[in-house]
Assembly symmetry: D2
Homo-oligomer: 389 residues x 4
């Protein structure tokens, strides 16, 4: 390992900001990153007071109420963007302009054009980029990828992915920025299906055509007033509660992907099943440390889906625990992502998935909307994504 | 119960024929049908020798090598069609012409036009009809229907159904009539997705529009020669190994339905998840005696999917066992169907699903092909199906 | 198959009586027993009116209000005892004296001495005997036995069995004969643990020593009065709600067995895990058509419990269905038992488990009580049980 | 929070040492421990070189090859003992003598006498103690405790606990110190069943009597030689591969506890089922973020085990993630333990479980051996354990 170090500037300290903060520390300990080589240097939030409090809480050395200060700080090497989706572009472009490497939460941008602009800016500036599609960092999912890559299930002929949660299932939950196109873009599509799209292309092949359906189920949501005004108003929901797509992959495989943010009972309901010519595998994020694998070999009497508990034989698990089946958590996946970020920085190695790969996701999401509006299949533009390093 | 009796003539004694034979006996015992009121009267198969052997084996009084004899036999009240799909129409029309009631396996016909012709003939003749969509007879599925009907999960907003098996997953399985359009019609769509379509409309609402995708994955299959000819030939597969559809229901709900006959590891992989505004339910035919139910009420701390083992509190279970959780099997569902058939006969009551309801399924399957060819959404013709009695 | 036939006389038509009645018909159809070779000849119940009604309902040719008439009827070949436990001995001895073969529900007797007397009487009379330990007839359990017998999991070193139900979990359920020693013998031990004991010896080896614990949890239960008397009385429960034992097998393996009739949530909660030197297997009766199998071979990366859905590759499944994973039910296991009974009769072959094997179970149950009273380990008398044919 | 801080000295940096190191960082981030208040001050290992390397890797400020230096270091407030079992006593007594607080891995000691000596020394010295029974720190298990404490499942009548792993299932694994009494004490009993004993008493009530069985299954294990000597030698295994016990609790409940280190397929197979008079709950550590809960209320038709995914409504989860069902890992449980340790230190509050509570566990383990040797039930000495704070 080189003596270089990585000093992080975090923009935004809400849900994902905290997950990142935990992950930095977790990565240092799990992956034995030498003291001082990974520093939580600065945290920016909406006000300097909030930022100061959060920096103390999350263990950052300094804080600022102005993310532009963070971006221009000479002791920040990487800008970690955990701000709401609609701010990704502005912050990333500014960080790139300041010569910083950028680590952004997903989806990269509100649309493909913005994503392309960000990608091209980063590549021109020669900075490294990474986008937080964390589910592929899970050792279990890495193992799934490995099984597919080495042909254990033969040639992939089908991928089914579902990402359902119920965080907006209650129709009385209040109207918010998440439900408005200009702040959030699409709904379940951006929040949830973006992960599926990335997973599917990561595990199978590029998506070359698709047909989609979108639906706002709860069309109006209440706006609760702090004031004493008893005339309740409502806001009109602008983006999808449920999103479906049928896809075709470059290798000829078919797939179905769907997402919902109103699916009662599903809490982190990301699951997929990959079928090949020699076997199948099934993953469910709600039991994130196990993979079910069916291989069509041996006597039919003893064929079945094998429930494999992830352990030290699988990628990156041993950093966390030397015994199999002890179970990793959501935050541990993020620690693997941080390890990737750190390794890329100190070894000057490529990161994955970078802005370019994430742009392909944005292109697909745009195609979904296009297909929905046309009520027909559409071909998907192929951005020149390099293979995973 | 009236003194009338039901004497059955079974046409075809293969896979489903045997399942029916078991079910007749099982129904007599489980539902206490008085001796002699349900008689397995005659069995027809390809040759008189085969029919005689099968009649002995399956417990039918008489046999014939000519199904036309069976149809015209005065001691046959109901013609039970377990012959291959492409024969359904001819046999059913002949039986109807002979004034017999008809109980047919699914899918009713190879296309909607045939199904309509059969429906109209039956209705003109005033005979009763029943189609073997047996999965809705499962006490667990009946319970699901009950939960939905009484609003326990609120208004249905989504249905996802999958019916995957692996009976043709091995690419070296031989070419057969099942793979040819003129004998089998479509592939996984007819065999498997037909059940899903029927289930979805039964549980949710009519399907009014859809967009579909079909794919032959293994395009050629070997033709094994009995002769010594070492030049192996191949047959070209004409129908789909995998079928997908996105649907919209009359009540506004969305759905996704998919089927595969090449999905390694799935043996009777019929599963569905129904999401409503107040809860969700999940069913998986591979664990056919349990239902998972999520109701969004009470403290969030104790919310979760409840695994309910079907028991005497649920429809039709008690006929088989007085204790909950003892588990019903595939054949027991068929016994419930036979009970329905018998009750309809002796009480002169309507049957469900009848030819008319099954015709709607055929219409939807035709729309799937149309959508696939157009690469776009299509609206689905609404046949005048009466509500389930 | 010989031309001989088997004519059954059923004594008792409650819970198990009905299960037997269904199973006779089911067996005829599933196992292609030629018409007339297996006849449900006569049914005896408490009164002639009840017997007549039940015979009609369950499909028996004749009926009687006096089981002694049934036993002496010349057209009855086998006496099928589904009467309460405390009557097994009297009925069996009378049937044996009348030269009838006897098929009895379990446990064979209220204690080992009675069981021995019954066994010896049957052997002297040369009649065949079978006891209804039906769980070993399940194709899935037969498969487990096969795996163990052929060494797939190596040498067995451990057996854990649990049989929990909740049929008496509600403390307000009324006092009944089941709770009194003279009618029922022990409680959960006789009802439930007897199956475990039989399963363990069947799958592993004879049990040679044990240490046990028993407990009446709900000591008093209400006696509800039909009269208007508002002074509710209570009955004192005389037998165990919960039963535990630690055992040692003849092959050196250890085991734990436990049963409860007050375990809320468990409906047919019979499960076992067998550990060997090369692998393990897990079974749960609430998902009776699947077995989990772990074999310690191949790369550790792909080791895991394999969920095998029972299918035509497994013992006796194909009689019910030609496709794997379609699921058998509780009554289907009983049909296998009937098939065994019938085959033994018409082929003059030994039955399993016979009275002798069932007597060993009663000996072990007596040892449980002895150990409980002594608060110490006891050695178990070894009856001369022949190996399963 | 006070301004006091906690500076840790870690003795031993193997398996558990690394888990602790990760947990310290994880706890700081998750529970927002202000920077500098929890310091990883010093690490001791067998040699100064090893200690130095490990300190760098695990993020400790200083290191030493002599644990006695660590104990006497003025900047160490808490001594964290992750050394092998047989060293716990010596290190703890020395630390106590130096006035340090002690955080020890389990089991506290090799026998109850040693544990008592350690407890009494600590209490005399007025230092705080904590023992690493981490499974009770899992938010899911805390929730189970909460449900029991508030009576949701009524009065507890039964506890069944199993802790099976397969880390020594391969009979060819080499002989080691773990298999010798003087270094490890008992085998599966100490390693695994100790957790069950602690969990059972924690969740139900004190254990007042028990009867146990122990067995060495693989009696000899190979000693592999570095030298070229081809005469392989073997070591004789001195402690149990499998351990069973039946127990009675102070509240009258019964229980069974068992552990195995040779149970093929079980990786972290700690599971328990608690049955009460109103319901039951089931936990399985291999799916550590869910609890199954059955409450006997409402209509029987909708009763079933509810699978509850742990979330922010449950104890301590929200520190890790604000969304339910995202899953915690093994290391997260340990972070909760560290949080407890830290809070106890800076708030001068009692810790749980302390040496006194852990001594009761050692007493029970000694009783297990006594019972095994006597082949009979034994009463368990009741140490004066205070209630959990």
């Amino acid at each position: 390992m080189t003596v270089k170090k990585m000093r992080v500037g975090l923009v935004g300290s809400g849900y994902m900001g905290k997950a990142h903060a935990i992950a930095y520390r977790n990565a240092i300990a799990a992956f034995a990153i030498p003291q001082g080589q990974l520093q939580c240097e600065m945290l920016a939030d909406a006000t300097s007071e909030l930022a100061e409090m959060k920096a103390l809480e999350l263990g950052f050395n300094r804080s600022t109420g102005d993310w532009k200060c963070l971006i221009n700080d000479p002791d920040v090497d990487v800008v970690d963007i955990c701000a709401p989706n609609f701010l990704h572009k502005e912050i990333a472009l500014a960080a790139i302009a300041a010569g910083k490497h950028v680590y952004s939460e997903k989806p990269l941008a509100l649309n493909a054009d913005d994503a392309k602009e960000m990608t091209e800016a980063a590549e021109r500036a020669g900075v490294k980029t990474l986008v937080g599609f964390n589910y592929i960092k899970n050792p279990t999912v890495q193992f799934a990828k490995q099984l597919i890559a080495r042909g254990d299930i033969g040639e992939v002929v089908h991928f089914r992915g579902v990402f359902n949660e119920d965080y907006l299932a209650d129709a009385n939950l209040p109207f918010s920025w998440r439900l408005q196109k200009r702040f959030a873009g699409t709904g379940a599509l951006n929040d949830l299906a973006s992960h599926l799209v990335q997973l599917a292309t990561h595990l199978v092949a590029p998506i070359i055509s698709l047909c989609a359906d979108l639906k706002v189920v709860h069309q109006y949501r209440p706006i609760y007033q702090a004031s004493n005004d008893d005339k309740a108003s409502v806001g009109e929901v602008e983006n999808d509660d449920q999103a479906h797509m049928m896809v075709r992959f470059a290798n000829g495989a078919q797939g179905t992907l769907e997402a919902s943010r109103i699916a009662w009972g599903r809490k982190n309901g990301l699951s997929f099943e990959v079928t090949g010519t020699k076997g199948s595998l099934i993953f469910d994020q709600e039991t994130l440390s196990e993979l079910s694998l069916y291989i069509a070999e041996g006597h039919p009497q003893t064929q079945g889906f094998k429930r494999i508990l992830v352990g030290p034989e699988h990628p990156d698990y041993q950093a966390f625990c030397v015994s199999a089946g002890h179970g990793l958590g959501f935050n541990d996946m993020k620690a693997v992502e941080i390890r990737d970020l750190f390794q890329g920085m100190v070894n000057d190695a490529p990161l994955w998935p970078d802005f370019r790969a994430a742009t392909q996701v944005n292109i697909i999401l745009d195609s979904v909307v296009e297909s929905f509006e046309k009520r027909a299949w559409v071909d998907v533009e192929q951005y020149d994504v390099r293979a995973q390093p």
